[in-house]
């Protein structure tokens, strides 16, 4: 499916800018924080759309390398990642990875980093750490 420009992230940028620059100063005080949250959510989704499939492929690869199974090869990528993530969660809960928890924690940093890139860029940079 193709759509005319603006593309989806560009539209979200526009909504975020509107909420931040025009709505936020105009609403009563008790709604300002909620408006800021709405603007920020638009920015988060715009980053997620721009990131595309790369983080999904990298997460799938990571979960499989830790022993998870990712569903059928011909399933859509998003489904396979979800299946692998759920399988890894179950394996961790069962104690299967108890012998290498610290190594697994190191490996899972890459997964959490990819989530932060979308949700809160820079949170995991060394300068940001307290």
């Amino acid at each position: 499916m193709t759509q005319d420009r603006p593309e989806a992230p560009e539209l979200l940028d526009a909504v975020a800018e509107f909420l931040f620059a025009q709505v936020r100063p105009a609403v009563p005080g008790e709604l300002r924080f909620r408006t800021l949250v709405a603007a920020n959510l638009c920015a988060v989704v715009a980053r997620e759309l721009r990131a595309g499939e790369r983080p999904l492929r990298e997460d799938l690869e990571l979960f499989v390398s830790l022993g998870a199974e990712g569903g059928a090869e011909d399933d859509p990528l998003a489904l396979r990642v979800r299946a692998a993530e759920a399988d890894l969660a179950v394996r961790l809960r069962s104690g299967e990875l108890d012998g290498r928890l610290v190594e697994t924690a190191v490996a899972l940093r890459a997964h959490v980093h990819r989530k932060l890139e979308v949700a809160r860029p820079g949170y995991d940079s060394p300068e940001a750490a307290g």
């Binding site: 949250v37 959510l41 961790l92 928890l101 899972l108 940093r109 959490v112 932060l116 809160r120």
Partner: protein
């Protein structure tokens, strides 16, 4: 009279205030205070007729939601905390079964001051207060932890309070049903690295910026006792220091205002048991995990339709923040 769950229970509140002998009870008007994620909070304002006004606070369960500590338990704890010298709002009246408040709730005295975390951290007029908060928190925690656990009415945590907490939050995660491998890893790490159990103390459970009312003199009240339980007192110390509760002031590890040494010195000189670094690290891992699960649960409250709110929804994308801090502590 009984109130319905959906509307602010103004008539019921007026009746209770009249029973308490408050002049002008019949003029009470309710305004919802936004921001309470798991309880509804209303400002109750009375017109005294002489141009002055008097305020109270109503806290109640949101319709349809069940709180972790029943209102009756929170009410009892507020009274015990007041006796122990912890600054808290005065607990005036309880409707444990809903009754006149529509849903289970309690009427409290109104404490003047600021509770919104970024304002506490940045408002100029509170600079003097910020300089005092770390020591006041240490002292308040020592007093909370000295409350008689048997009198608290809180359930016994079993032989190992850490295990009780792990199981509690594991069950909370299961109720959400979302796969979170980093959290599963954290749960296994917490099981494997439990510190030597200590005699259970009353733990506030949510002792952090946002749950303090602060005025120019510093800590005016500790609020939101609904996560209170019996456990390891180091849990409260570590929770106060996790990064999410610094609200951007990352270099000051105690609630964005102070340093750990000062907190521990005040805590110990007010009678709190010494807390070693390993125990604090353990409970910091736990605190980050707990905050991640709370984020997931609040996002789930939105997606499940229990409480539609984009603010709750947004917390689903904040799970990764405490996950990151937790992994940093483990590896």
């Amino acid at each position: 009279m009984a109130a319905t769950a959906e509307e602010p229970p103004a008539a019921g509140v007026r009746e209770v205030l009249a029973e308490l002998g408050v002049a002008g009870a019949e003029t009470a008007a309710l305004t919802e205070i936004p921001g309470g994620a798991s309880r509804e909070t209303y400002a109750v304002e009375l017109n005294r007729g002489d141009g002055g006004s008097r305020r109270f606070v109503l806290r109640r369960d949101p319709p349809g939601a069940e709180s972790l500590v029943p209102q009756a338990g929170e009410f009892r704890l507020l009274r015990l905390a007041a006796e122990a010298g912890v600054p808290v709002p005065e607990a005036l009246h309880l409707e444990p079964a809903g009754g006149r408040f529509g849903t289970p709730g309690m009427l409290l005295s109104f404490v003047e001051g600021q509770s919104v975390a970024p304002r506490v951290l940045r408002r100029e007029e509170l600079a003097g207060a910020r300089a005092k908060l770390t020591a006041q928190w240490g002292e308040a925690l020592a007093r909370i932890h000295a409350i008689d656990p048997a009198a608290s009415g809180l359930p016994e945590p079993g032989p190992d309070p850490a295990l009780a907490q792990i199981e509690h939050w594991e069950a909370a995660l299961d109720a959400i049903g979302e796969p979170l491998p980093a959290i599963e890893l954290g749960l296994r790490w917490l099981r494997a690295n439990r510190p030597e159990p200590v005699p259970p103390a009353v733990v506030h459970g949510d002792f952090r910026l946002g749950n303090f009312i602060v005025d120019e003199r510093g800590l005016a009240a500790v609020i939101d006792w609904e996560l209170a339980h019996l456990g390891d007192p180091a849990e409260d110390l570590a929770w106060l220091c996790i990064r999410s509760w610094r609200f951007g002031e990352d270099s000051r590890e105690v609630g964005g205002v102070g340093d750990l040494e000062e907190l521990l010195a005040a805590y110990e000189s007010a009678g709190g048991p010494p807390a070693d670094q390993d125990r604090l690290r353990y409970w910091s891992v736990f605190g980050n995990l707990k905050w991640a699960v709370i984020c997931a649960r609040q996002a789930h409250d939105h997606t499940s339709g229990l409480r539609r709110s984009h603010e709750l929804a947004s917390l689903g994308r904040r799970i990764c923040e405490p996950e990151w801090d937790m992994l940093e502590l483990i590896a």
